[in-house]
Subunit: 364 residues, 2 copies
Amino acid sequence: MTRVEDLDTPALVVDLDIMGANLRRVQDYCSSHGLGLRPHTKTHKSIGIARRQLALGAVGLTVAKTGEAEVMLGAEPRDLLVAYPVVGDAKVRRLASLAAIGGSACKLTVSVDSLECGQRLSDAAVAAKVQLGILSEVDVGLNRVGVSASDAVAFSKLVAAMPSLEWRGFAFYPGHIKSQDPEKIAALSRTVGGLRAEFEAAGMTPEIVSGGSTPALYHSHEVEGLTEIRPGTYVYNDLNTVFGGGCELGDCAAYVLATVVSTSRPGQMIIDGGSKTFSSDKLSSGGPGHGRVMEAPGALFHKMNEEHGFVDLSGVERGFRVGEKVRVIPNHVCVVMNLHEYVYGVRNGVVEEVWRVDARGKLQ
Amino acid sequence: MTRVEDLDTPALVVDLDIMGANLRRVQDYCSSHGLGLRPHTKTHKSIGIARRQLALGAVGLTVAKTGEAEVMLGAEPRDLLVAYPVVGDAKVRRLASLAAIGGSACKLTVSVDSLECGQRLSDAAVAAKVQLGILSEVDVGLNRVGVSASDAVAFSKLVAAMPSLEWRGFAFYPGHIKSQDPEKIAALSRTVGGLRAEFEAAGMTPEIVSGGSTPALYHSHEVEGLTEIRPGTYVYNDLNTVFGGGCELGDCAAYVLATVVSTSRPGQMIIDGGSKTFSSDKLSSGGPGHGRVMEAPGALFHKMNEEHGFVDLSGVERGFRVGEKVRVIPNHVCVVMNLHEYVYGVRNGVVEEVWRVDARGKLQ
């Protein structure tokens, strides 16, 4: 039996009870509102966690990269969405092969926002003798990817007519909307509902209207015409989710277990993780710090080198000694997960499971 | 024959001619000044590159983590320094095992800055029946780890007396000194020279006085009493090295090849790499941007999501189309390297070699 405090560090630890509650809470929310849940696997990148999400009732999975799709086929989803503009000969060929491998067991769908993308996918699907599902990616205000709402129907008609592509609906990512923005959510609902009506008027009833992110997750049912959401972070949560109003601190399932390796400077401790362990992602709220040290909430984890974390203890009553271990909840768990080879699943202080971050570094 | 523009993206590419010149330049500098070069392998994390450094004349290798030491033994160095306070039962046991594996072929040395560290290493070395080399880590102003210069001799006497430890000298990391700081370099020289004299007066002549980083590399010979330096970044260089005055832009050997995946918003392009490809490390100069787009020097790579890079093209004359590939020199190559599985070595536009980032994610 390995207790969590006996793990070598830095170690990425997940509290299994908190994770389980997070998974159930969001699935229950979706089920009670008739929304499909298609978790974005970019957060956990692990086949085993994807299987749990599917077992709880997820309608499918989401990935960003073709390499992630290749990995996540291992979770045996019935429906897999690549929510990213897939560009490049090698990638479209790989995707078409995946569609062939998945066969009738897994429907593969890609979101597109350019005719070039659509044409290349169509060519590859024709060559591989497969059908690829397509969602039109629409920009609803994030200003990242996606055609404008006013162009969406005309664009979709052109893509839908391309050989071996099956148009299934439209997708958007409302990453600019936080839970505290009721007016923005109302505006989003008008945009999405209006768009859906426009598609219907054009004789293209969308099977899928896919949106949703973790920050404004529990307002998804207020968006007219939405059929499914694609949150990722909710499985573990992090400080960004807490400060964005999406959860409480006690809902954060993942933390980095770190060891104090130097206290040579008074009022400071150095822990054995820096930017290669925590990433350099700042809080999206703009606040200071690289994570919350649970053993010393008044401490400020203010600076990092690659393997050194600098924690200012001037606001802390207790002292720390070399060798002591601390738990640090990260700012942004998705990028932290991508830095670690293994995750240690813990219940009541005991390590019950160890799993790989299967799609770590699958950038292509 | 694969040409670089045919690589799938995002891909981490190294220009072999530039890398070769970087490796030779620093080795030549060290040789001409009678300084040992002990490259820090945290930058490349690849056994093959470490072998090249040793073949050119490096006296040994440096690592930060025990897991990196385990990997880098594969490069067959005669002398391997773990420049990090090694804390924790599992790690000291692993290090002692490594010393046993390395045997007489590889001398293993660890830098220590606390008596606790020293005692645990001594216990493990005794148990494994090996000798471990020890360097006293001294803080010369970075305020990170290391005993103070005034405590260094007294501390070293205590550590040197511990069983199965062999005291070899002292180490420091002048990471706070840039090349444009002649007064700080002069002050460092006085500190190091004075410390060396103090050790000699105490009957402890250091075999090794180890310092040096990439930014102030070419001033290392001005530091009195220094026997070796441990730069890492010089193998590839990056924008931080350029802006820190350590090299020219043309000396940057590594870049990320990325593809334009969306141009749906005028004056902007989205490339297929974000914080999981480039890391979120900002420029240490405080300037804006996440990398320099070589095809459009006036472009500002101003924002990232995990897999999306936002490039503002408003200051650029030329346009970009979906599918076009661009080369991006990163801010901080060490953290970028750690995010990629493979590196593509290119000469005259042709891919000559592909190598693994062997110690990627070896955090423990």
